[in-house]
């Protein structure tokens, strides 16, 4: 029996267990919301200059039926066929995603910023035969399609469903000012034509029939993950995974998320699992109006959305909250109607959380999850105890615990790998049984993250397991050492890794990007000596001009390790040669 001290902290508006789920699949959940909120605005897409287009719940429902009909009747797809989707946040996104679910097909979210190689890997690995792509990024298609099974291409305009004059203006600006519309050199169908064709063949019986065989355990999405830590693999998320995680997330928010009343700003990309479940599914089911931002960079792109709409909810990552806090227009006029904010994706810094609460006067909470867990596993409470620096407590109907290397539970306050069990855990990795076996054991998902639980059941992330360094049998977590080194004056950025060592197995090596005044190795080691145990002291401090980073700004320790290893081996070869 799992130790569940967190249950005592559930406030009265959060159920300890999720009530039985009445939806067999996502389309049922989506149709329920559409019927309930019919005439309300579901989505509004806002461009940086304030131009916008909107769709009601009823429109989204009808249009996604039409797209489902197109996929089945025109393209001849069958249930379980994979459809890749590659577009930024826009009005077409929910129609396409919901249409794929309603057709009984499988959604393969693809980052529009992917390189041709990444696209080839994802499309061929998933076996997608159909691609729905934003026309702005269609220039890479000739190189990509030849190496995949994709036969059908549907192209989407960013201004789809905008009022015609406004949409025309957006098009003209894209074409002649930004020059962001490449000539599409592959055979393709325009989204509007696809919908028209689907509409012509649509009947209520047929569209309901598409999902007759789609059950809770049927595959709904292949969500690719692991790009920064290895070859990207597809997490198989079922209809049941996504439905329950949506309901778990809403339940956990309690009165912090008011049905039919919220206006949520979606600046995070919907192709990412966090925004997909929380913003797209969660707030749609909850009857919110979703403000879709195609690109939040630079952050001033969000200004018109905040000016023109009474935003009540915001989900984001630390980077976004911090960026908004640093924008003068945001400081001058923080959103008056804001109700709550949720952070995920990466650690929410305590200073950012405090400043956010101070400026907006509203709560912000941090949560945790992974692509493999649909994604929400834990969250701090909006209407109960929230502990900054922790990832909160498990959402209803979810078990989370920390285990040692042998899979045994560790005591409260002791670091161990987080493992989780619940209805949101993926079916496995797509066509990777070995990888699946490594992460899914006895119904528990092994996250690869090291954390500790306090007596109240709140979890705190210590580090990634993969990054853990083993020095003479002692576990060393790079985060702890990096924190120390970052405090040395003149250190701009730091990355700590373990490298093989004859005596100790591994030794600690630190990479430092120096600013002014330039820090010395001695100063860095001296500070570490005062605050860290001897085995944690870096043996080498290497000054570099740049540290390798992921596109979202995380320092890539893996790349540092690879570089260190290749340097080592080439060094060895050189010495042999000599």
């Amino acid at each position: 029996m799992t130790n569940t001290p967190w249950l005592a902290h559930y406030p009265s508006d959060v159920p300890k267990q999720l009530p039985p789920v009445s939806f067999a699949n996502l389309p049922e959940l989506l149709r329920t919301a559409a019927a309930q909120y019919e005439k309300t605005t579901a989505f509004t897409q806002v461009m940086p200059n304030g131009m916008n287009g909107s769709l009601t719940y009823a429109q989204v429902d009808q249009l996604s039926d039409q797209f489902a009909s197109y996929l089945r009747e025109d393209l001849g797809l069958v249930a379980g066929d994979r459809v890749a989707v590659q577009m930024p946040n826009c009005l077409s996104y929910p129609i396409v995603a919901f249409g794929i679910f309603k057709a009984g097909c499988v959604l393969v979210n693809t980052n529009p910023l992917y390189t041709a190689n990444e696209m080839i890997h994802q499309f061929s690995d998933s076996g997608a035969t159909t691609l729905v792509v934003i026309d702005m990024f269609a220039d890479r298609l000739p190189a990509v399609l030849a190496k995949t099974n994709v036969k059908n291409v549907v192209t989407v305009k960013i201004s789809e469903f905008f009022p015609s004059v406004v949409g025309g203006v957006v098009r003209i600006v894209q074409k002649y000012w930004q020059r962001s519309l490449p000539k599409i050199q592959v055979e393709h169908t325009r989204f509007s034509a696809a919908l028209a064709s689907g509409k012509a063949k649509l009947s209520k019986e047929k569209v309901l029939g598409y999902t007759a065989s789609v059950k809770s355990e049927s595959l709904a999405a292949l969500q690719y993950t692991g790009g920064t830590t290895g070859v990207s693999k597809g997490a198989m998320l079922s209809h049941g995974n996504l439905v329950t995680n949506t309901l778990q997330m809403i339940a956990h928010c309690g009165d912090g998320m008011r049905a039919g009343k919220e206006i949520v700003l979606t600046a995070l990309p919907l192709y990412h699992i966090f925004a997909f479940t929380v913003n797209l599914l969660g707030f749609y089911y909850n009857g919110a109006r979703n403000i879709l931002i195609p690109s939040p960079r630079p952050p001033s792109n969000l200004r018109r959305a905040f000016d023109n709409y009474k935003i009540t909810w915001l989900s984001g990552v630390n980077t976004l909250f911090n960026a908004l806090l640093n924008e003068r227009w945001f400081q001058d006029a923080p959103p008056k109607h804001l109700h709550a904010s949720a952070a995920g994706g990466m650690a929410l810094q305590a200073s950012v959380a405090e400043r956010w609460r101070e400026l907006t006067g509203t709560p912000i909470v941090e949560g945790y999850g992974l692509t493999e867990t649909s994604p929400v596993l834990t969250f701090n409470l909006l209407t109960g105890l929230a502990k900054d620096g922790t990832i909160g407590i498990p959402v209803p109907s979810t078990e989370v615990k920390c285990v040692d290397e042998n899979g045994k539970d560790v005591a409260v306050g002791v670091a161990g790998e987080i493992v989780a069990r619940g209805p949101q855990i993926m079916l496995g990795y797509w066509q990777k049984p070995e990888e699946t076996a490594k992460s899914l054991k006895d119904g528990w998902f092994y996250t690869g993250d090291i954390a500790q639980m306090d007596a109240d059941g709140y979890f705190t992330i210590v580090d990634r397991k993969k990054d853990m360094i083993l020095v003479s049998g002692f576990n060393v977590y790079p985060n702890e050492i990096e924190e120390q080194i970052a405090a040395v004056p003149g250190v701009l950025e730091v990355g700590v890794i373990g490298v093989p060592d004859e005596k100790t197995g591994e030794r600690v090596q630190a990479y430092v990007k120096a600013g002014l005044p330039a820090p010395t190795k001695e100063a860095i080691v001296a500070l570490c000596r005062t605050n860290l145990a001897a085995y944690k002291i870096p043996q080498d401090v290497i000054f570099v001009d740049e540290l390798p980073k992921s596109p979202i700004g995380k320092i890539l320790r893996r790349t540092l390790r690879d570089e260190a290893m290749s340097l080592n081996s080439s060094g060895n070869n050189a010495s042999k040669g000599a």
Binding site: M47, N49, G50, M51, N52, L113, F162, P163, V165, V166, V169, V173, A267, L268, P269, H272, F274, A275, P296, R297, P298, P299, S300, R304, D307, N308, G316, V317, T319, L320, A323, N326, E327, R328, D332, A333, G345, K549, P551, I552, G553
Partner: protein
């Protein structure tokens, strides 16, 4: 209809440099531009500009402190020592008037393009135009005596009211339209921007051929005064604002607001007061040249400011 007629009158002041047809075009341009600028604003923006009145106060100081002084300094250090024109004193008088009139409405357009604080710019224009009733005659009184002239003039309040109403009404309408429909507002704003871009070459294109002769015969000290007035005003006001630790956005606004004076107003005042003076052409010389060069200078300054703004823009990595 009233707004249209008043605006018409304002532009008609440029009669000396443009013909009837071009006036009509300019009229339409300015109407669209001002509508567009208004559509980029909300009442909240004005609330903020007024909540921190420092910008407005500093702008007042630079407007009526720096500009007339700059005109005076340029006259005594460049124009008087190096000019060989007989009626140089009349040219100097024109320069003084040019330096003493309030900010012009084109400053709003350039502030918009410079990513400055548009609400502050509009508030400053209205503020300095209201103050001009007292400050323009006062500045002229002080500096003309220093030059040994005994000039005094008064501005009819009607002239100033026309400027203010011609600014407030289209801007207010633009704001209202945006409030009613953010889409129409955004389209209007974009159109205003496009017309603003066309406005600059258009103004130069109609000005230069007509006054080619003038450009060839004017001697360099007059050029220095006509160009220097705006340029020095912008630079000094910018660094003055930076010195007072104003936000870069507000410093850019104050710089443009200060350097860009209301050329058409200066011309109208001169025509009204000195039309019977045989030297009226000489008096009009600097305001006419200034009206051309300020557009060129402001365009260049705007390019610099835009680059500074882009450099200062927060760069964040991809979110997730």
């Amino acid at each position: 209809m009233r707004a249209l007629r008043i605006l018409t009158e304002e532009v008609a002041n440029q009669a000396t440099v443009v013909n009837e047809f071009e006036q009509t075009l300019l009229r339409i341009f300015i109407l669209i531009i001002m509508f567009g600028l208004g559509a980029g604003l909300t009442p909240k923006d004005f609330g903020l500009a007024l909540r921190r009145p420092w910008g407005v106060v500093i702008g007042w100081v630079t407007q009526f402190g720096i500009m007339p002084l700059t005109a005076y300094v340029l006259i005594v250090t460049v124009l008087f020592p190096f000019s060989s024109t007989e009626g140089v004193i009349l040219v100097a008088l024109g320069a003084l008037i040019m330096g003493s009139v309030p900010a012009g409405t084109t400053s709003n357009l350039f502030t918009y393009f410079s990513k400055g604080n548009l609400a502050l710019s509009v508030v400053m224009t209205v503020n300095s135009t209201l103050w001009a009733f007292i400050m323009t005659p006062a500045a002229l009184f002080v500096y003309s005596r220093l030059l040994g002239l005994d000039e005094s003039l008064s501005i009819e309040f009607r002239e100033l009211a026309i400027v203010i109403i011609g600014l407030i009404i289209p801007v207010g309408l633009g704001m209202l339209i945006r409030k009613l429909s953010s889409n129409i507002g955004a389209v209007l704003e974009l159109m205003g921007g496009v017309f603003g871009l066309l406005f600059i070459p258009f103004l130069i294109a109609i000005w230069v051929p007509r006054n080619w002769e003038l450009l060839l015969t004017t001697e360099w000290p007059t050029y220095v005064v006509a160009i220097g007035l705006g340029l020095v005003g912008i630079i000094v006001a910018y660094y003055f604002s930076k010195l007072l630790r104003l936000h870069p956005m507000n410093a850019r606004t104050i710089a443009l607001e200060t350097g860009i004076n209301n050329g058409p107003l200066a011309i109208a005042v001169i025509v009204a007061v000195y039309i019977d003076n045989p030297g009226v052409d000489q008096i009009l010389l600097v305001p006419a040249l200034y009206s051309l060069f300020i557009v060129i200078i402001s365009t260049l300054v705007t390019l610099v400011f835009r680059r500074a703004n882009i450099a200062a823009e927060q760069k964040i990595p991809n979110l997730l």
